[in-house]
Amino acid sequence: MSTISTSARADRRKARLWRALMLSVALLYVAVLLLAPLGGIIYYALKEGLGEVGHTFRQSDVRHAFYLTAIIMVVTVIVTTFFGIIVALVLARDRFVGKRLVSALVDLPLAVSPVIVGLMAVLLFGRGGWFEPFFAARGIQVIFALPSMILVTIFISIPFVIREVVPVLQELGMEEEQAAWTLGASRLQTFRRVTLPNIRWGLLYGIALSAARSIGEVGAVLIVSGSLQGQTETATLYILRAFDQYQEQQAYIVALTLASFSIVMLIGIETLKRRASREAG
């Protein structure tokens, strides 16, 4: 009798020990890889006080860099959301020859280095590229200008909305939509009132990831933009240059701003989602 309870107690202790071990590994992993760098940036960015922050934001090249980043992000989010939903609906609902290929192609931007993406854009739109004569004849500057920067950022951000929305659509099935049709709802009404509310959290996540990715893009944009200070320099390119020119303080401040934006966005979505699921019971 006593031996049984002793061994049972030993088992329980072992289980507790395992739990504690797993928990500490997980926390340590997150802390070292995520919190430490973030803490470092916060520390260095604010080391010289808020005066330095204000000073940085008054610089015209910093403002222009943020302005460019914002434009690229907004356009990228609009385009990847609109087409992402269409591609997701097709991938989740339709059957066609080559569907697997399309599904794999969608992930391509994740697998290809952004630097290569930038090079491809230069090959297509740069001097002697396939599409260069077309745009040159119309006086449109693509390479070393905003259009190519937006283009490569969109390319790199394509997968996020699609990858978040497709599984939600598959799980949802078609019955609710068919029920809406039998009740007289048009395709557009059905999308707006049935499909969209059902995929909204996946979609929002995809949009947030898309936005975060477009803010953070460096490699491809660096190659196609030429990184001209005050002209084609995004916030991340500014950080690169500031480091090179020993203006580390400004680099940290801009980096912290970008990171904060992304974090606030993700926390915001998480909060909305939790509130919505509480309302729904």
Binding site: W181, T182, L183, S186, P197, A280
Partner: protein, 373 residues
């Protein structure tokens, strides 16, 4: 407001599989009709084609005398109830019921009145502000029904409406739907694999198998005068006895049943005999034959008797206990086989309606187990 449903020559293939093959029937105005068949018999596809959710390869669909074959789902204005409810999970019960009205831009006041009226009708008035995942299966199905009825459809189509529910709730909902139909009189067509459900609820039954219509008729005709071996085997429990035809009678050993009118002498035939169509007597009569009682299972008010004919074929009888007082295993008695349904054996074999076990209703229906032979 109700209309008849007519289906003419409806045909549909999925790839090389012919799911629905030349199906024709009519559901009269104000009636309940059942599409009854085993899974894969094409009954749901027929329903979905009527609703416009599938396009037929050939044939036409008519509702209230108007052809709808080419009409869009939206324009057909038919109520459809899905097996798994298909409620809008992000909307409250009220919003679900109001959906068909609000997409047609009915004014808010009318919407509110109609929703109140329907929630009252389906007995869910206190649950209007709940979400679908806060309701039981039976409640969800009633919401789905209210939602389908809200725009006052001409006909109501129900796809296995009770299929996802447990036996007790299914019984309740069945009685309730019957009551509701009497009250509203909307022409209803429902798909089911449960013959008991079809026999109890429907004015007319369309029995389907392998994409074809086997028989159309009221419950008693389907049950008592099956047109094909499949119907005899599928609807209601039956004993399957194999014998040889002589002079319009089927002979198995010394036992004989009548009814083989169109089968030539010497041919094999199958007789389907209901367990309650067997009469047990102590003495031989002109129409009764010796049987051995092998087992008696008492089920309270009635018993199942496992019998064996002289030629070795098994037979199960179901009789009220008061009619078989003193009958026990081991006795040799006499059985009178009434109302046999006789078909040529090759025909029955073709429809694989002769396999013992296939003789009873599909195994999915729990309510059937008591009648299993």
């Amino acid at each position: 407001m109700a209309g008849s449903i007519q289906v003419r020559g409806l045909t549909k293939s999925f790839g090389s599989f012919r799911a629905v093959d030349d199906v024709t029937f009519e559901a009269a105005e104000g009636t309940i009709t059942a599409l009854l068949g085993p899974s894969g018999s094409g009954k749901s596809t027929v329903l979905r084609m009527i609703a416009g959710l599938e396009q037929p390869d050939a044939g036409s669909v008519w509702v209230a005398g108007e052809e709808l074959t080419e009409a869009s789902v939206q324009d057909r204005r038919l109520g459809f109830v899905f097996q798994h409810y298909a409620l809008f999970r992000h909307m409250t019960v009220r919003k679900n019921v109001a959906f068909g009205l609000s997409v047609r831009r009915v004014d808010k006041g009318t919407q509110r009145e109609r929703v109140d009226e329907l929630l009252e009708l389906v007995g869910l008035a206190p649950f209007g502000d709940r979400y679908p995942d806060q309701l039981s299966g039976g409640q969800r199905q009633r919401v789905a029904l209210a939602r389908a009825l809200a725009p006052r459809p001409q006909v109501l189509l129900l796809d296995e409406p009770f299929g996802a529910l447990d036996a007790r709730v299914r019984q309740e909902l069945r009685a309730w739907l019957d009551h509701l139909h009497r009250e509203l009189g909307v022409t209803s067509l429902f798909v089911t694999h449960d013959q008991e459900e079809a026999l109890e609820l429907a004015n007319e039954i369309v029995v389907m198998n392998h994409g074809r219509v086997e028989q159309v008729g009221p419950a008693d005709a389907i049950y008592n005068q099956p047109a094909t071996p499949f119907v005899a085997a599928f609807v209601g429990a039956s004993n399957v006895l194999r014998g040889t035809v002589w002079e319009r009678h089927v002979h198995f050993g010394h036992s004989i049943v009548a009814g083989a009118h169109e089968i030539p002498d010497g041919a094999e035939a199958i007789a389907y005999i209901r367990p309650h169509d067997i009469e047990i007597t102590g003495e031989a009569g002109s129409t009764s034959f010796p049987v051995a009682v092998e087992r008696r299972t008492d089920m309270g008010w009635m018993s199942k008797l496992h019998l064996r004919l002289e030629d070795g074929q098994p037979l199960v009888a179901q009789l009220p206990n008061e009619e078989i007082v003193g009958v026990e295993a081991g006795q040799r008695l006499f059985a009178n086989l009434r109302n046999p349904k006789v078909f040529a054996a090759d025909r029955a074999d073709d429809e694989s309606a002769t396999v013992p076990g296939a003789i009873v209703a599909p195994a999915e229906t729990e309510t059937q187990t008591e009648a299993q032979v």
